[in-house]
């Protein structure tokens, strides 16, 4: 940490301060220094750029850019800010993509949403937004959404025309002598979900893959600014239903930090308990989906059978199985009736009974191993420079897990270790999912026991301790929070104004974004059969990809 500080002293900064335990927060006086600072940071070992988050301040005529650098090895992180002019013509800055490949799509996103032009970016095309939004910078504060929505027929016509035009010219643009063609893998494809991969193929061989995302773009980052701090959780949880609890935990932590609220130990343990349940519900889908993509649906069905019991617990607690809205700033939404834990015990028993069969039949399946042990291989090096996280990073042997690196909720009291695999192939990521299921069950058992003991000894009051009041109006402030979401690291950057009733800006950093970036790299030179396998082994969620 000191090294980074001395490094920053060489440049003109407005301030350099410690933030949380493993962060340094700083602001550059001049945006011209950015490239030099980034190069120095990379040399120092901060090799992953987590995300680029612009914040729009129309009154000050300033676009504030936030860069989040991470070092996955030594867990040192840097939050770097710098201002650039807001006017569209001057709104430009040097691109960091040549230094940090992980920045590529994040800069494209900032370009599409805020109109920030990144100089020397190798591929600065709009991303996520549909054709009718191209060049319109929808996330700027002065964008007129109502006017845009009024012209809905024209907007749709634009999208349709652009698509038809692209399809008509697909093969014309290619070399007419070659047997190369463009294959649309999605958005309505049995295995793709709402994402489209433009696959250039020569027969069965893949030449290149260009993902086209944004089919489920709901502008959630804008939507939360129209809601109050509690109402925003329904937008935040709709990032991805599979593990909605942990995304709400991340958001609530950011709000609590700005409000200065400390939540009760009981609420912390409840967050662990619910969070791990949701993680399991996601991992069950991931495991089953992996085999689905190999054309075998049995594991998916078996997993759904077990998963239902965990959803029963979520239902008994929150009244909803999937979209639970169970976490709120200040704690958890409901008190705990101790009989609900019986539902959980049923689920745990079901899990213990079924998991050995799944291991013998599916994890050790020779055909699956034969197909997946040598495709989609990611090295430790690539994990760092592309900023990958979650099971993808741990599958390659990188020890990163926010629950341990930067413990939130009650994870500092939980007994857990990093789970990693060595080779980083699709098979290793599958095994990671399976091992993490077992780890989650261990954590759930610990949390359950802790809550039961706490209630028995009178330390926790399950009907009153779940919530601490958070003021409706928040002071001016800024916070980031990181959580280990089922599919990787989620970083939320929350900005509030004076006496704010709703968030001024909420940046949601999606792990799936970085993982999808890897598709082209991993699939080049493979065959069509490997696409679904690699695609699902990266374990991303289209909802979170588009937001």
């Amino acid at each position: 940490m000191e090294k980074i500080k001395t490094l920053l002293e060489q440049f003109e900064t407005e301030y350099v301060e410690d933030y949380k335990k493993i962060w340094i927060k700083t602001k550059l006086s001049s945006s011209n220094d950015l490239l030099a600072v980034a190069a120095a940071l990379k040399k120092e070992g901060l090799r992953s750029l987590s995300t680029v988050s612009p914040t729009d301040f129309p009154e000050r005529e300033v676009m504030e850019l936030n860069y989040f650098f991470e070092d996955l090895r030594t867990k040192r992180n840097l939050w770097l800010k710098c201002d650039i002019p807001r006017a569209l013509e001057q709104c430009e800055i040097e691109s960091l993509t040549p230094l940090f490949p992980s920045a590529s799509w994040h800069e494209r996103e900032a370009y599409s949403m805020f109109g920030v032009r990144f100089l020397n970016h190798p591929d600065l095309r709009p991303i996520i937004v549909s054709e009718d939004f191209v060049g319109k910078t929808p996330f700027r504060k002065d964008f007129d959404w109502e006017k845009h929505e009024k012209d809905v027929t024209n907007n749709i016509q634009m999208i349709v025309d652009a698509f038809k035009n692209e399809q008509a010219n697909n093969e014309i643009n290619l070399d007419s002598e070659s047997s190369e063609t463009v294959l649309n893998w999605g958005p309505t494809h049995p295995a793709s979900g709402p994402i489209r991969l433009r696959i250039h193929t020569d027969g069965e061989d893949v030449i290149s893959v260009d993902p086209d995302i944004g089919y489920v773009w709901r502008a959630l980052e804008y939507l939360v600014t129209k809601k109050d701090f509690v109402g925003a959780i329904v937008a935040v949880e709709r990032l991805c239903f599979m593990d909605n609890i942990n995304s709400m935990v991340g958001y609530s932590m950011a709000v609590e930090e700005i409000a200065g609220t400390k939540i009760t130990p009981f609420a912390k343990w409840m967050r662990v308990l619910l969070g791990e349940t949701a993680r399991m519900s996601s991992h069950f889908m991931g495991l089953g989906g992996f085999f689905n993509n190999l054309g075998l649906h049995t594991l998916f069905m078996w997993n759904m059978d077990i998963r239902e019991y965990f959803l029963d617990f979520l239902e008994s607690y929150s009244g909803a199985r999937i979209a639970t809205a169970a976490i709120e700033p200040g704690g958890v939404r409901y008190g705990l009736d101790m009989t609900m834990l019986d539902e959980l015990q049923k689920a745990l028993n079901k899990f213990d009974n079924g998991i050995d069969d799944i291991y013998t039949i599916f994890v050790k399946n020779p055909t699956m191993k034969m197909r997946s042990y040598d495709v989609g291989i990611l090295s430790t090096e690539e994990v760092e420079i592309y900023g990958l996280s979650g099971i993808v990073a741990r599958g390659s042997g990188v020890e990163t897990d926010i629950r341990i690196d930067e413990p939130y909720a009650a994870y500092d009291e939980v007994d857990m270790k990093y789970i990693t695999q060595k080779d980083g192939s699709a098979y290793d990521r599958f095994v990671m999912l399976f091992e993490e299921l077992k780890q989650s069950v261990k954590i759930i058992k610990q949390a359950k026991k802790r809550i039961e003991d706490g209630v028995a000894s009178g330390e926790f009051n399950p009907t009153k301790d779940h919530m601490v009041k958070v003021p409706k109006k928040l002071p001016k402030g800024e916070a980031i929070s990181r959580v280990e979401w089922a599919r990787g690291e989620v970083l939320m950057h929350l900005v509030t104004e004076e006496k704010a009733k709703s968030p001024y800006r909420l940046k949601l950093r999606a792990p799936s974004f970085n993982h999808t970036m890897m598709l082209d790299h991993l699939l080049k030179g493979q065959t069509l059969s490997d696409i679904p396998l690699v695609f699902c082994s990266l374990y991303f969620c289209q909802g979170y990809l588009d937001r």
Binding site: T181, L183, H189, P190, A191, G203, E204, F291, N292, N293, L294, G295, L296, H297, T298, M301, W302, D305, I361, N365, T367, M368, M370, R371, T527, L528, S529, D530, I531, P532
Partner: protein, 317 residues
Amino acid sequence: METLIQAFIFPGLLYVLLWTVGLFWFFRKFMAPLHKRVGPYFNGPAGSYQTLFDLSKLLTKESITPHGVNPYLFSMMPLLAVITAMLPAAFIPWTEHLPVVVTSYGLLALIVLIGIEPFLLFLTGFGSNNKYSFLGGIRVLTQAISMETAFFLAALSPALLFGTMNLSIIVEQSSWLSFLILLPGFLLYFIALLGLLEQPPFNIPDAEQEIVYGFYTEYSGTNYFLLKLAEFAEFMAVFAGAVTLFLGGYKGILFDGYTFLFIKMLLIAVVMMTIRAATPRITLKQMLSFSWRYLVPISLLNVAWIMMAKILFFGGV
């Protein structure tokens, strides 16, 4: 009159239809507990009408012909596929008195008719003017060429052993001894059958996660119904072929008859479904290397083994 009954009732059209409906339902109902599901439940006893309703629904739906295809090729192929798939039934000795066509080249007719089918399916993919269908068609062809070599070599082994291509005689001469001698041939036939019928782990041509539905992609309504009918008629031909060639056909334990042939066919279906419920798909490259590196050489070895066994146990006659 007899010919009419044979053409339209048994073993002709009605029989094939009933077999399709019944086997479809059986597949669903058998897969369900392996998946920890219930399967068809509401319509009829144990959901047995469900398939009937599904098929009649397909018949009444609009049959869409996409733009830019040759409509004759597009609509003719499913029909040809059904007819080709149903024809082998005429050569199978269902009972002692019932191969419809009595010929001493029954085996040849059987394997030729089974061998034509993939080319028709390739043409459906070729004629669909769709990249996925075309890839599916190419895959059907690749797989058929690699799998049929082993399939034919395995199917020839009883002919070599008994010295005849007459299916009725093959059944008559079969015994427990010949069953044991032909066992390796049967296993090879079964593996090649999985490839030929596009069943897991060789369901590469209609791998839905890769190429949507392969050559089926553009088909709907009646045409799709016909293709499905062809698929199940093909199941019947290949299963019945296996039973006739290797498992003693209609021969039973206490009495002979069609019942035993049917039970043996169902047994093959059960094994096929169990493999389907437990094995993921392999890739095209893996299939090719499996077929040419292992399956075909072993089939040749099997032919050598049959010749040797013939000399050892049957005195070389």
